[in-house]
């Protein structure tokens, strides 16, 4: 529940005039918003509103047609629209995918250790120290394992650490993907519909996990979600998209009562929405 004032302090991630065109189709149109650290920012909107396109622009999978994406971290300021996807991940923008993308043939633990590739690669001196198993690499590897163990305990998957990731049930795979993203030690965590396909109990657990990540790690969480119980319950700020345009931006209470949001979700008849909550 921060204010988005344009003070001297830059927000963690600032999106300005982001536009993405695919031929004649404008998927995202002049979108501007900011995401802060220690806050959960949700992007919601009806199907096809351009939410995932925004994510793909932020994480470098698409090059935006127009716009500036500024990431300000203690290490420096980066303009994401100029960077390649894997470099964006290296400076601390982690993401999960709408359809879970795990390394299914590898074990759960290997998924988390593979996520710490760059750190370990440097420690292994591009494999030379690793081949001869020097102490320097051994230490780095056991540190990486400890970080993986920490996140496995957090998401409750420690018991299946040595199982192939593909053999887990769907809900576990979703949590594992979040744990894997956290293993790159991000400053921004982008979650693309993390609650899709989860049952109410799993969804409630996910809420707790996301709040804990925000409060304990102090990072910014960016969330695309359809499940309103997740969005309304935990978001500090909600950005509503419709046809690629921002139609509302505010706290959950503000968005809940915004006539434009109600119109987008429930149709043109404003008066019928007594509750106002688009759920």
């Amino acid at each position: 529940m921060r204010d988005d004032h344009d003070g001297a302090a830059m927000p963690l991630l600032r999106v300005e005039h982001l536009t993405m065109r695919f031929g004649g189709l404008v998927a995202v149109d002049e979108l501007s918003f900011a995401a802060h650290d220690r806050a959960i920012t949700a992007i919601i909107g009806p199907n096809g509103a351009g939410k995932t396109t925004v994510f793909n622009c932020i994480t470098g999978f698409y090059k935006p047609t127009v716009g500036r994406l500024t990431l300000t971290t203690p290490r420096g300021r980066y303009y994401l629209e100029r960077m390649e996807g894997f470099r964006i991940a290296q400076i601390g923008v982690a993401r999960t995918f709408q359809n879970v993308r795990l390394f299914t043939g590898m074990s759960v633990l290997e998924n988390l250790v593979a996520a710490q590739h760059n750190k370990l690669m440097a420690a292994s001196l591009f494999s030379i120290a690793g081949i001869f198993n020097l102490g320097r690499y051994r230490r780095a590897e056991s540190e990486a394992t400890e970080l993986a163990r920490y996140w496995l305990e957090r998401v409750g998957l420690i018991a299946v650490a040595n199982e192939p990731a593909g053999s887990l049930p769907y809900g576990d795979q979703r949590r594992l993907e979040i744990a894997r993203a956290m293993c790159i030690e991000p400053v921004v965590l982008c979650l693309d519909e993390p609650a899709a396909g989860l049952n109410p109990r799993e969804s409630a657990e996910l809420n707790q996990l996301l709040v804990a990540i925000r409060d304990e790690q102090g990072i910014g969480v960016l969330l695309i979600e359809h499940d309103m119980s997740v969005v309304m319950g935990i978001s500090d700020r909600i950005v509503v998209l419709d046809y690629g345009r921002k139609i509302a931006d505010g706290t959950s209470d503000e968005v809940r009562h915004d006539p434009a949001v109600i119109r987008a979700y429930l149709g043109e008849e404003e008066e019928t929405a007594e509750e106002g909550a688009p759920c």
């Binding site: 590898m106 074990s107 633990l109 290997e110 292994s124 591009f126």
Partner: protein, 492 residues
């Protein structure tokens, strides 16, 4: 008891079994009439056609009875199938062992044994179905998976045992020159298989032009040794480096390609290298090849009977009588050591971040990018390192043969190396060894069959693709384990 159980589910249908067998016989007749029945023989400068209808008849009768036995089995009449198949197998084997081969009508000992084997299989299946132990397909698959898993786990002691056997091999009483030569050939392919395993098995990049790097290594060694007179041990790293740069050169244009498209481009690259070798006559001597490539020496001591003045030969160094086997055995140990280096490297790199990134890239490239893994560098190192080992193997090939020409680096070589990797089970080190012995060793054992030995190769491939489509030993052990992870419990 067993008979009652069998009789219950299905009533025996003799006419149906006969019909099936007749149909199979007819198909066999159609196939064999021209392929077996007609033979072209050069006679006085022209080709004449000889007929072999007796052989066709033999084929048809064998297929008829074989199919009849199987059909009887399916119809639930296991007894006649067991007795017929068993009796035939027994007679054949007795005739073979009792040195009465002349009684058998088949043209070769290998065919005798194959016929006996098939009869025995029919009899065995009949016997098994009588005592009700025939496993359903799903059970059989999981059984093979478990075998794969236990072999993989046993590799801790299986590996050293295999190494001891490999080291002792040249001194076995049966190891004559031909045998050690074959062992060298098999070991070369084991090394190539292990090298390609890095590219295909770990990084998941389907490479159909692997032989190109083998060729680059062989020609690098040959040209440097012939033109500058450097020794094998100097040329080896140079050849490896040149092959690795060829790998990176191939890697750049194909970075964006995956799967089939990548396979097509690598196939083209393999052919390009071969065509360059043929046409760059000034450098490579074209189709005539390069000859009198220096043989390897024992770290400076040559394997010659009468060395030049002032040079000590290997047999003089150790004061033993000269034998031409010395060099063969040395070559064997050389390729064994080179293959073991490849193997140890692969085992180690799998446990390093680079190896994990290769495997992650194989599983999901997009997820890799989202985790900050640089896909370009990761792919290029896979291509480069895989090619480097092919270059080492190529140098060895050149020094062993003493003569190389583009003929040795055709597409079929790439196909064989890839078959070894796929057949062994992608990413399985021991699988590659077994597959190399099967694919390279077996055609040699089937030399009796002359040009038909490739048929045995094909039959083996088909059989394995039916029963083990993921390869003989397709089982993956995690590269890192959480030692004190609690035992997994079924979710409530």
């Amino acid at each position: 008891m067993a008979v009652e159980a069998l009789a219950a589910p299905r009533s025996a249908d003799l006419p149906a079994a006969l019909k099936e067998a007749l149909l199979a016989g007819l198909v066999a007749l159609g196939l064999a009439l021209f392929m077996v029945g007609l033979q072209t023989v050069p006679e006085g400068g022209t080709l004449t056609i000889h007929t072999r209808f007796a052989a066709v008849g033999m084929v048809v009768v064998l297929v008829f009875f074989g199919r009849f036995g199987l059909a009887l089995l399916h119809q639930g009449m296991a007894w006649p199938a067991a007795i017929g198949g068993g009796g035939f197998a027994l007679l054949t084997i007795v005739a073979l062992l009792g040195d009465h081969r002349a009684l058998l009508p088949f043209p070769s000992v290998v065919v005798d044994w194959i016929v006996a084997l098939f009869a025995a299989i029919i009899a065995l299946r009949a016997a098994l179905s009588m005592i009700h132990v025939q496993a359903p397909v799903a059970d059989r698959d999981s059984l093979m998976d478990r075998i794969g898993a236990s072999v993989q786990r046993a590799s801790i002691w299986l590996g050293p045992v295999a190494i001891v056997i490999a080291v002792a091999l040249p001194f076995m009483p049966f190891a004559d020159r031909r045998f050690v030569d074959l062992a060298i050939l098999v070991m070369t392919y084991v090394m190539l298989g292990w090298g390609l395993n890095i590219v295909v098995g770990l990084a998941g990049l389907l490479d159909l032009g692997y032989v190109a790097f083998y060729a680059v290594g062989a020609y690098s060694y040959a040209l440097i040794a012939l033109n500058f007179g450097f020794s094998f041990w100097v040329c080896l790293p140079v050849a490896g480096a040149l092959a690795a740069s060829a790998g990176v050169m191939l890697g750049f244009p194909v970075l964006r390609l995956r799967g089939d498209y990548l396979a097509i481009v690598t196939l083209g690259f393999g052919e390009m290298v071969r065509v360059i070798l043929i046409n760059w006559y000034k450098l490579t001597n074209g189709p005539d090849g390069l000859s009198s490539i220096p043989r390897p020496s024992f770290f400076g001591f040559p394997f010659t009977r009468r060395p030049e003045e002032g040079v000590t030969a290997f047999h003089q160094l150790f004061d033993i009588p000269y034998s031409s086997m010395h060099r063969i055995i040395f070559l064997y140990y050389l390729i064994l050591a080179m293959a073991m280096v490849t193997n140890l490297f692969t085992i180690r790199i799998r446990k390093l971040p680079l190896g994990r990134a290769w495997e992650a890239l194989r599983e999901d490239e997009i997820a890799c990018r989202s985790l900050g893994i640089n896909p370009t560098n990761t792919k290029l190192t896979a291509f480069g390192i895989g090619a480097m080992f092919a270059g080492f193997a190529g140098s060895f090939f050149a020094t062993r043969q003493g003569f190389i020409s583009p003929e040795s680096f055709t597409f079929i070589e790439s196909a064989i190396i890839l078959s070894i990797v796929v057949l062994g089970g992608m990413g399985s080190q021991i699988g590659v060894v077994i597959a190399a012995i099967l694919l390279i060793g077996t055609p040699e054992w089937f030399r009796d069959l002359a040009q038909f030995r490739m048929l045995a190769f094909g039959a083996g491939m088909v059989a394995i693709m039916i029963w083990r489509p993921r390869g003989l030993l397709a089982h993956r052990e995690p590269t890192i384990r959480l030692a004190d992870a609690p035992i997994a419990q079924p979710p409530p």
